[in-house]
Symmetry: C2
Amino acid sequence: MKKFCAMVFYLIFMYLNIYAEQPIILKKQGSFFIGGKSIKIEGKYDSKKWGRPQGQTRHGDHAYVFFQIPEKSRRYPVVFLHGASQSGKSWETTPDGRDGFQNIFLRHGYSTYILDRPRCGRAGLCLYSAKVGVANVDQLCFDIFRFGLWPNYYKNVQFPTDENSLKQFFCQTTPNIGGYDKKLIADTVSKLFDKVGEGILITHSQGCESGWYTAINNRKVRAIIAIEPASGFVFPEGECPGTIISSSGFLRTSSIAKSEFVKLTRIPIIMYYGDNIPDHPTDLQGQDNWYQRLKMARLWARTINKYGGNAKVIHLPEVGIYGNTHFMFMDKNNKQIADLIFKFLKEYSLDK
Amino acid sequence: MKKFCAMVFYLIFMYLNIYAEQPIILKKQGSFFIGGKSIKIEGKYDSKKWGRPQGQTRHGDHAYVFFQIPEKSRRYPVVFLHGASQSGKSWETTPDGRDGFQNIFLRHGYSTYILDRPRCGRAGLCLYSAKVGVANVDQLCFDIFRFGLWPNYYKNVQFPTDENSLKQFFCQTTPNIGGYDKKLIADTVSKLFDKVGEGILITHSQGCESGWYTAINNRKVRAIIAIEPASGFVFPEGECPGTIISSSGFLRTSSIAKSEFVKLTRIPIIMYYGDNIPDHPTDLQGQDNWYQRLKMARLWARTINKYGGNAKVIHLPEVGIYGNTHFMFMDKNNKQIADLIFKFLKEYSLDK
């Protein structure tokens, strides 16, 4: 009887211990800017003549980086690059208040470097003036990020379906201030790798395009995990596939010299796509662009592998994971998604 | 001899222990949006008709909040509200890579809630369209933030004078996307206090104005620490002082009903101003506006205290602290500035 009681107490203790949230212990945290340029106006600055541009400079086109290093950190840090009209917030707390990838990766021992890419969020200074218009696109976003078909969520959707979460998600958009420039972003992320050393790059959506160029630029990128690459797959010259038929318009690809392209074969690349993507063209444009993109991702992986590379596309429903959206790192099963990534990193010994 | 050796080893151990940076242990960290509104366009959204605004909504005018709660936290959290053309980055790592107020306050046991105010940084969505122009004002900033008179630093300046720090600082500017709206900001910060409960408000520069209105709105603000309030001192109706003579233009004050104004007498308010502020008008406009502002702050404190309040202006050189800039929380002696604040909080038993 005594032994039995002891065992019950032990099991209760273990249960509480596992489910109590552990503190996050940081050796270091902070932020800095990386990259960027400045422009100087001709003339001489005069401290007594307020408001004249002469002789003054302006800065812009840098990225903002927030980093956290856990007390016991793994060897390779993870750099997170968000998608269009987002910021580093993408990777933080989920709209319903759970740990996002920032905390999940920290708890798993990875140092995190989270960017606001140039002309965005806390790195909002563009070298040129910009117009920030209003965009009435909340419902379109609901559709194209595959939460459902407005106003109905998909039955199996993994995005939290309460009203407040959706509001938090809509607020998360933050405008691009100045044009999108894939090369500028890639150069900036490459500079970040020069600063932090070899590491892992996790990209999302539009950010994936700059991710490919970053890995081409810089050998310090040891692996790319690309979450739902949208447009911007880069092919060797002369090998761009034709347009994939779709109701949602042209899917842009770009091309580079083969000698550059093959640099993508140096590292493992994995791409994840979520659920509710049709396997044929449809007039529901929120779904249809994903039909295009998933198909293009597969063509692209095949091209990389043809040159000896190691690129994989994981369409989650095919591995038995259902209901994921374009923002799978915020979805209710985001820990499950992170676990897939942890396994991938372990497979390539990038988890040391 | 043995005893002596043991003592020496003990002292070396203690020395290393004190000067090794301690880890930051967080019970919790995350981010969310607070406040904000949405606008809906008339009509019906159609999932098959891409790009039409009909029936769609847009969100905007919320603030972004990043929070960290140390494992052993004091009772009152600290809310940080930045100044014009800045973001929450103001309070993070200094331009030369030292702990900013974010880490200093965490290490001292305070929970921190750091805002990007509405229409700024990661909370960039304004409900209306905006033009973001370029501003060639780096040298003007150097002057008005009192780093020196461009291109020379003040001899005693506490801002780090290496080239990279200045570059990091210039990058830290991030545009206001849409007009500055003191009441919108105050309402939003007030909602944050409703969410987190009683706490301490630290404001900077332009942010100080919204700080006054936040405390008028919301009793949960238990103290205000205002770092170099710029314009926007609020007086009781009929008691606005005349313009203070200056070469740098009009210093705006505003007025409210006396019944509202006296709500500012409920809490301790402390204002800090740094060094290199002249005590008479000058044609060096970077200095002169501070002559105005410091003088106005004193008039304002006197008005609060006349109604039974408790407002203090600390001009740092008068307490023997020299060389501080408008960004004293990043200056080389920022720990000394934080210590002043910790003492102030202790004095009013807000450090429990």
